[in-house]
């Protein structure tokens, strides 16, 4: 009883805060000074048409680095928790996979991969970028798992891809300190023509590394959750 009362009191208190916030909310018609700077100077300074990309990769590059680190920590903690202690032999009879989904997965996995690569290489021109591309690459592994529930994702390859792309990401940032204005500055490579694929300095390179890293980390989390299905509880 008293618990319910407390819950309702907390929710109502938060709702009251929201109502006051709501009454003071005015329609914003102009950008903040920071956003105005990004909008007016961003194209000349960074050379990327997608302003969100230029903020994520260059202006707030440290945020991206921190986020990739958090994701790496999550992947390692999940694999530590779901470590397989005793391998149980699979005795129960699973229903065999339909032939249609087997063929469809063979047909679709390369296409999904190409779509993921498109999303993170064109991150500075169209909506998308490393995080979306990484999520799409992990989804290709979901498709493989759906076609064959006993499919094993090779942990060696995943960890090699993950560490190589992570180290390269940091190295490109350090090159930014040596050759250009600061950490993760994209002007280590020439800016190129506005609106082409190979332009905007190092942004396609950085986003490719971020995409590979995010994709391999998410696949690692997935394969841990899949691996525990066999184990006896």
């Amino acid at each position: 009883m008293i618990r319910n009362f407390f819950i309702i009191a907390i929710v109502a208190g938060l709702a009251a805060i929201f109502v006051t916030l709501f009454w003071n909310f005015g329609d914003s018609t102009t950008l903040t000074p920071l956003a105005t700077h990004y909008a007016d100077k961003g194209a000349a300074e960074v050379g990327a048409p997608n302003l969100v990309t230029s903020i994520v990769v260059t202006y707030r590059g440290f945020d991206t680095l921190g986020e990739v680190t958090i994701l790496f920590l999550v992947a390692s903690i999940v694999s530590f928790f779901l470590k397989r202690e005793k391998l149980q032999k699979d005795i129960e009879l699973k229903r065999e996979t339909s032939e249609i989904i087997l063929t469809a997965s063979k047909l679709l996995v390369p296409i999904v991969m190409v779509l993921g690569v498109y999303v993170f290489i064109n991150g500075h021109l169209t909506p998308g970028g490393g995080f979306q591309g990484g999520a799409i690459i992990a989804t290709a592994f979901v498709l493989l798992l759906m076609a064959n529930p006993d499919f094993k994702i090779n942990h060696r390859i995943i960890s090699i891809v993950e560490s190589v792309s992570g180290i390269s990401f940091v190295l490109v940032g350090v090159f930014g300190i040596l050759l250009a204005g600061g950490f993760l500055d994209n002007k280590v490579l020439p800016l190129g023509t506005f609106g082409k694929i190979f332009s905007a300095g190092a942004i396609p390179l950085i986003y490719s590394f971020v995409g590979l890293k995010v994709g391999s980390e998410l696949s690692n989390i997935l394969s841990n959750f899949q691996g525990i299905q066999k184990e006896e509880m």
């Binding site: 699973k94 679709l108 999904v112 999303v119 169209t126 909506p127 979306q132 799409i136 759906m146």
Partner: protein, 86 residues
């Protein structure tokens, strides 16, 4: 003229999403809800295409491509869960 016709089409698409929501709540089994979810996904792909017309940005079609290629996975996952072979 073309704009008015497209607005009517958008209204009809919203109506179909709302109708499939009804089926979601008045479902006999889990499979019924999944079918309603599937229809909602497919209808929202065309809604995304219409929104890209109203906003005047053809670049939004990329989002529709991601949806069209990935949204069927949700249904397949639930189907594998139902036949106990995940």
């Amino acid at each position: 003229m073309a704009n008015i016709i497209l607005q009517i089409a958008g209204g009809i698409m919203l109506l179909s999403i709302v109708l499939s929501t009804f089926r979601f709540f008045k479902a006999g089994s889990l499979v019924d809800r999944v079918v309603a979810f599937d229809v909602m996904t497919v209808a929202s792909i065309s809604l995304i295409a219409l929104i890209s017309h109203f906003a005047g940005r053809t670049i939004y079609i990329d989002v529709a491509i991601i949806y069209g290629l990935l949204s069927f996975l949700g249904v397949i996952i639930i189907a594998r869960y139902l036949e106990k072979s995940l």
